[in-house]
Symmetry: C2
Subunit: 287 residues, 2 copies
């Protein structure tokens, strides 16, 4: 397997690979580096929901692989309703790609999956980026706030609902949000991914709620992740509050933390250049 | 009781008050505000170990009260060897001063005492600042690193040892350290405090080690502190690592976190103007 020649995410073709678990995964693969950076997507997101500007900024310096996990978008199967099962499905994809070791960038629910992979298959990973993340069991995150799930959990979501969660209620952040939404929803005109289904929405939200069942003792789990981790969040994220990034960075043995100002859940799209540069610095740090 | 007329810490007289626990406390009291800000000092520190530049910057906007806890410096009694007992002794001082409610600024071991006061006597407090702090029971802080306790725990300590722990190994931070040390050790020429004893050193280090016995379940204690808290640290503190500030800010229900760059345990002396301004903003925040 090798990366496609293009270095622009909107031009990257959607490829398919059959994995050992019988699932055919849809993915896009671009850029070059020894260790690929595998992206794990947010709630209800498919391949098209990565901001092309972020992927393009990441690709300047590394091979980037985005994929739909089981049951999501153009990937076959049924979306499982636990983070643990999603982690095993992601590992099956990585094995199907014949990657010996990868870096992970997990975003939101994808960051929960990244933590789980780091716990069940640590040898597969070199470094991990957790964007808009939280440790399992933390108090106060059992399901999202009504205005958040109302905006992004409805059967039909709107651009306004998306922007209300992913961007802060300021002119600068909302302006960045309009631009990001333009790139995400208008950038690619052909070979777009399949929309995610209501089954995916329900299964993923089950997994989110289960992850948030308060259980102080489970916070200790991430103490076992001795890989270098970069924890990042927007300072006004209404979906996963920045306090959970503080908590995660404090519980992890080897974490760096950055909170981006004037931003929300989609801080990594708003600050795509700065965030990509921070990710590159982190991935290139001497061990 | 009222504050003295001076607004410069090096000129503030050392006063004494007898408390209900039979201890006569030495203190200095300056500035004006409805709610005084009570300072809780670091390991082996007495009244003179507060950087006068920090106290002067705090006093521009509030009444500031520094005191020696039981057995420390000019205060009578024997230093207890638990944070819990130190908290009760601090409460006895606050009661002797007839303060109905105070803000606390706890620094290092003083920040442990501040947490304990917030847990046993929450009604006494309005807001809490925790500088160079850590929650009880966190993994990896059972006693300080050999070079840290070697530098500040020796029978006779040196300015070089002090600076090696309180300031980062950069020209800027070490330069700031030389200046702070000049203010602390050379600023006041008369009415200096009594030096702290070896008994105080031993008892306080017992308390520090006990606080650091790893016990994940104890991390949950601070979830009960629902007061607004400002958690602050230097990014290269070798005595209490910044990760414990992340952890604390993540465990506390209502915390703000700031990590100051290019600084160590004494970041609040290095950035005395900026830190005092941050403390003022925090204390004046709308609830």
């Amino acid at each position: 397997m090798s990366a496609t020649a293009t270095s622009r995410y909107t031009d990257a073709t959607t490829q398919r690979v059959m994995a050992g678990n019988g699932i055919e995964y849809a993915y896009r693969d671009l850029g070059e580096s020894d260790v690929p950076l595998v992206l794990l997507q947010h709630f209800r997101g498919n391949l098209d929901n990565w901001d092309p500007a972020l992927v393009d900024a990441l690709v300047t310096d590394c091979r980037v692989v985005a994929f739909d996990n089981t049951g999501v978008g153009a990937t076959t199967g049924t979306t499982p309703s636990t983070i643990e099962a999603m982690a095993h499905d992601a590992i099956a994809f990585i094995e199907a790609m014949e990657f010996q070791q990868v870096d992970l960038l997990g975003f939101s629910i994808g960051s929960f999956v990244a933590q789980e992979i780091a716990l069940v298959r640590p040898d597969l990973l070199q470094r991990v980026v957790l964007a808009s993340s939280a440790p399992q069991g933390a108090e106060g995150m059992h399901g999202w706030a009504p205005e958040v799930i109302g905006a992004v959990g409805a059967p039909e979501t709107s651009p306004e609902g998306y922007i209300s969660v992913f961007f802060a209620p300021t002119d600068t952040s909302r302006g960045a949000g309009q631009q990001a939404a333009g790139r995400i929803f208008g950038g690619r005109t052909s070979d777009r991914d399949e929309p995610t289904t209501w089954q995916t929405r329900q299964a993923q939200y089950d997994a989110v709620c289960a992850w948030g069942i308060p259980n102080h003792s489970l916070l200790q789990r991430v103490a076992a992740i001795d890989l270098p981790v970069f924890v990042a969040n927007g300072d006004r994220d209404p979906m996963i509050l920045p306090r959970y990034s503080h908590l995660l960075a404090g519980l992890l043995p080897d974490a760096r933390l950055k909170i981006y100002p004037d931003s929300a859940h989609g801080f990594l799209f708003q600050y795509h250049e700065e965030f990509a540069a921070d990710v590159h610095s982190f991935l290139e740090e001497a061990d």
